[in-house]
């Protein structure tokens, strides 16, 4: 079947064909859930907030003008919904801000690590990032969103987003290198 773009489904939903909204849910559920899970750190809450984000998006779909990408719009709804929930519940998480960023950790060589462990290592490293840095990394590298789009999602200024992304990348390199060393020792 020919893959249609988001605007096609959005128009269908706005015109009353509500079942087309399931395409949007299917397409974005993993990343919406990942953002929610990172912010809320609990699968149950994350699932609830991910659902809430889609419902909010459905309710205000008619306000989506199409000037920005739909993905940017839905991620912003998700991010704001989750941050509001954290503030409402007054949840305080301790983040991995204590990671010592090393300047020399530029190159990574994951060749010696088995594929199944590789994914585990990357996920574990991502897990150690604070939620704002995780969201930046996810949107920039995984979703290939631009800095401008990321700023719309997170509400950061361009310069702030760049600084945070730079820090997050360095932190991720440090974490990955440390984890790879540990993993190699275990293998050997």
């Amino acid at each position: 079947m020919e893959k249609k773009d988001d605007n096609y489904y959005i128009e269908k939903v706005i015109n009353g064909q509500t079942n087309y909204f399931s395409y949007i849910v299917e397409k974005y559920q993993d990343i919406v859930f990942s953002i929610a899970l990172k912010v809320l750190r609990n699968r149950e809450d994350a699932e609830e907030m991910a659902q809430e984000s889609f419902i909010k998006a459905y309710k205000s779909l008619h306000t989506f003008k199409g000037n920005a990408k739909f993905s940017t719009w839905i991620y912003r709804i998700t991010y704001n919904t989750c941050i509001s929930e954290v503030r409402k519940k007054k949840i305080h998480f301790t983040s991995a801000d204590d990671v010592q960023i090393k300047d020399e950790t530029e190159e990574m060589n994951l060749d010696g690590i088995p594929a199944e462990n590789r994914e585990k290592i990357i996920k574990a490293a991502l897990d150690k990032l604070p939620e704002d840095e995780y969201t930046l990394v996810l949107l920039y590298y995984f979703e290939e969103q631009s800095i401008v789009e990321i700023c719309k999602v997170t509400g950061l200024t361009e310069s702030n987003a760049k600084v945070k992304l730079h820090r997050a990348r360095k932190k991720l390199h440090t974490l990955l290198n440390e984890m790879m060393k540990d993993d190699l020792y275990t293998i050997l």
């Binding site: 509500t18 993993d30 419902i55 459905y58 309710k59 008619h62 991502l126 590298y141 990348r169």
Partner: protein, 135 residues
């Protein structure tokens, strides 16, 4: 030193992982809630803007007005006295008349403000009931 924009390896690495997935029935759950929302919106849309109560009160008011007009045309005060001889209806009718006389003496601006206010409430209710979202 590479900038974050140049880090193609990291992009490749991150793209190779599978993201956390919600429960398998996630789409179904969301769609059920979406259909519920839609049903509520449709129900609100189907409901008349002005409820049954409004029409009953309006009918009673119109009826009262009609009675008043008919009564003012003919001098019914003596008849009333005949129907209810033991009650001094004239006393009540004069109080009633003085109320409406005072009401009629109200400045036009107050009447205008009241009317405009009522219209705005009516308009707000009408527009919000036609809005697809429910807030």
């Amino acid at each position: 030193m590479k900038t974050f924009e140049e880090d193609k390896e990291l992009k490749q690495l991150l793209k190779s992982i599978k993201l956390e997935k919600p429960a398998p029935d996630f789409t179904k759950v969301v769609m059920n809630r979406v259909f519920q929302e839609r049903a509520v919106v449709e129900q609100v849309r189907a409901e008349p803007v002005l409820g049954k109560g409004f029409w009953i009160i309006l009918a009673l008011f119109v009826l009262l007005m009609a009675v008043m007009v008919l009564m003012s045309g003919s001098n019914i005060a003596p008849e009333s006295t005949v129907v209810l001889p033991e009650i001094n209806t004239e006393k009540y009718m004069s109080g009633y008349r003085s109320f409406f006389e005072n009401f009629g003496n109200l400045p036009v601006s107050i009447a205008g403000i009241t009317l405009a206010f009522s219209m705005l409430i009516f308009l707000e209710r009408f527009l919000s009931s036609r809005r697809p979202e429910l807030t």
